[in-house]
Amino acid sequence: MDLLIQTLINGLILGAGYALVAVGLTVIFGTLHIVNFAHGAFFALGAYATLLIERAGAPYLLAIPLAVLCVAAIGFALEATIVRRALYDQGEHGSIIVTFAISQAIVAAIILVVGPDPLPVPSPFGQTAVSVGGFFLSAQRIFIAAASVAVLAGFALWLRRSVKGQQILAVSQNARGALYSGINVPLIRSLSFLLGIAAAGLAGALMGPMISAFPTMGDANVIVAFTVVILGGLGSIGGAMLGALVIGLGNALFETYVSVSWTPALGWVLVILVLLLRPQGLMGRAQLDRH
């Protein structure tokens, strides 16, 4: 019983982290129809930015927003120079190549500038673990889960309530219609790209203290994020959260009770099963046939 409870706690907290990585992917896909393979690289940039800002003397909690700004600025530069020219309306093929190349370039740049060795990202929550009734909870994980829930809820609310958020939703549902109704579609696309990149940076800043900063730190996390996003339904933020929860709990339970070696296959099997039953994912919209 205790084992089950600890496992469920692990799974929930794990899921909250996954959601944070996945939400940026899903926003970018939803509005831009770009499969962003560079997400992991921006995740890494978030962790490195946090680390460097902390080294410059800022405390962790201040370093997080500053790091997110830094990553967003890099994202903005890339958007203005590359993404806008090469990707919009070019279909998925171009986006796969370009985002993959961006990712390779960022990882190589990190190795050249900072070096390949993993570096600690200091956090006030550090290695502290809270023990509640015999169950262990890492302070940093609780912080990540809380931040993740707060940020995701705030983001969902902003999408619903604000004018810009509404416009993002409109573009993601029907870019042509949005254009006709006077929405500045290019601006909304740029904004969505920046939001997605910033979310990746935030995830890196929050998870850095747990996994350390190293150039390829994003790779494995982004693979999980892809399963989360597809499971939930590409482009659906609610779906990303639900998918993250399902995969977080599923992985935790499977690892504890079934097999550790086969766990990486679990997410994919879930994805395939769900897609067979609901091709649009758990919370994705059924697409109207448009010719």
Binding site: G17, P116, P118, P120, M210, T216, N221, I223, E255
Partner: protein, 378 residues
């Protein structure tokens, strides 16, 4: 100690006595290291060691009557087919006279299929027994084999630390398999119980559930088998967050500062072992560490050391054999002599395996490992 100093003096005498010949063609040695990709850190460490060795050899007048050593680097990117490509390029295009290649066991095995019976191949760091078990006459290994190292370490774990039950977690690699096999054997001869073995995939991002599962077995020792610094740090952090285990150990030869520093103290007290330790070094080793630190601004680690030794041993053997490409002769020279390295006298057996003179049990202390015990390797 005395013996070692004498050997060093003898080596020095040979070098001094060599007349500084006219600059002949340099002897090219191909260095295959992971310079990009997830294990690029090892490549960086190795390169520092190799460069230092080459600089020392050349400063002392080179080998074979004044020929300089030229190191040609190729990137194996942490993948077998890139390792193979690197070796082939070095052999056929760069026409190197020897190959120094070997960090990861799978990659080294792939590379050794190319070098077998064609060129001198020295594997500095990879440990899997399968590499030198192939019977390649011109393949040599600087590091101990996984089973040699593991036997000593596992005996230490079971006999000296004497836990009731060990829980094991490790990445699904060839290295892990070899270590596990040895562990099963040693544990089988003792009263210690193997509580649980969790083998995870390289893509695993989180270890809490695995650790929860292992803790639930009631084991009083956790033993982690992972050679990847970033993941090592992450695993130990998560073990610490779940309250840790009464006894904690990490596989031989895989704990470097590059894991301990990002672990931010979570590895404090973890028991491990290696063929190298900086703490308390004396004689040649102390001088090596000082020189290295002075030149590079960082202290050397095991990887830097074995790659340094590999270059020195290759150069020394060529020099002594009087040839850079008669591999049968060079190999006989390698086997028939004792080689002085910072660690002491190194000799190679019929399989090309070196045995480190000493084996150290470490305990992680602060940002590095501290010495707990020393064994002489028979």
């Amino acid at each position: 100690m005395k013996l070692r100093a004498k050997a060093a003096l003898a080596a020095l005498a040979v070098l001094v006595a060599t007349p500084a010949a006219q600059a002949a063609d340099p002897v090219k040695i191909g260095m295959v290291l992971p310079l990009t990709g997830p294990t690029a850190g090892y490549g960086k460490d190795g390169k520092l060691g190799a460069d230092m060795a080459a600089a020392e050899i050349n400063a002392a007048g080179g080998i074979l009557d004044g020929r300089e050593i030229e190191l040609v680097y190729e990137d194996e990117k942490g993948a077998p087919q890139d390792g193979v490509a690197a070796v082939q390029k070095l052999m056929t295009r760069e026409r190197v006279q020897a190959i120094i290649a070997g960090m990861n066991s799978s990659i080294t095995l792939a590379e050794s299929a190319i070098t077998k019976n064609r060129i001198l191949h020295v594997n500095p760091a990879a440990q899997a027994d399968a590499i030198t078990a192939q019977g390649s006459p011109w393949l040599f290994q600087i590091n101990n084999t996984a089973s040699t190292n593991a036997t000593i370490f596992h005996t230490y774990l079971t006999e000296q630390m004497a836990p009731k039950a060990i829980a094991v977690m490790g990445e699904n690699t060839e290295f892990n398999k070899a270590v596990l096999e040895n562990l099963r054997e040693i544990v089988g001869e003792s009263s210690v119980e193997l509580a649980e073995i969790a083998t995870y995939d390289g893509a695993t991002t989180d270890f809490t559930s695995i650790i929860t599962r292992l803790k639930s077995t009631g084991a009083d020792m956790i033993y982690v088998i992972d050679a990847y610094p970033a993941r090592t740090a992450q695993i130990w952090k998560q073990i610490r967050q779940q309250g840790g285990f009464p006894m904690e150990a990490h596989a031989v030869g895989t704990v470097q500062r590059s894991a301990i520093v990002p672990a931010e103290g979570a590895m404090e007290g973890v028991i491990t072992a290696d063929i190298f330790i900086a703490e308390g070094a004396t004689g040649d080793m102390a001088r090596f560490i000082d020189r290295f630190t002075e030149q590079n601004g960082v202290a050397p680690n095991k990887v830097s050391l074995v790659v340094y030794e590999a270059v020195k041993v290759v150069a020394g053997a060529m020099d002594k054999a009087g040839s850079a490409d008669d591999y049968a002769l060079i190999s006989d020279t390698l086997r028939g002599n004792v080689w002085t390295t910072p660690r002491g006298a190194l000799s190679f057996d019929d399989n090309g395996r070196a045995k480190a003179p000493y084996f150290y049990i470490h305990k992680v202390t602060g940002e590095d490992v501290g010495l707990l015990d020393t064994f002489e390797v028979e």
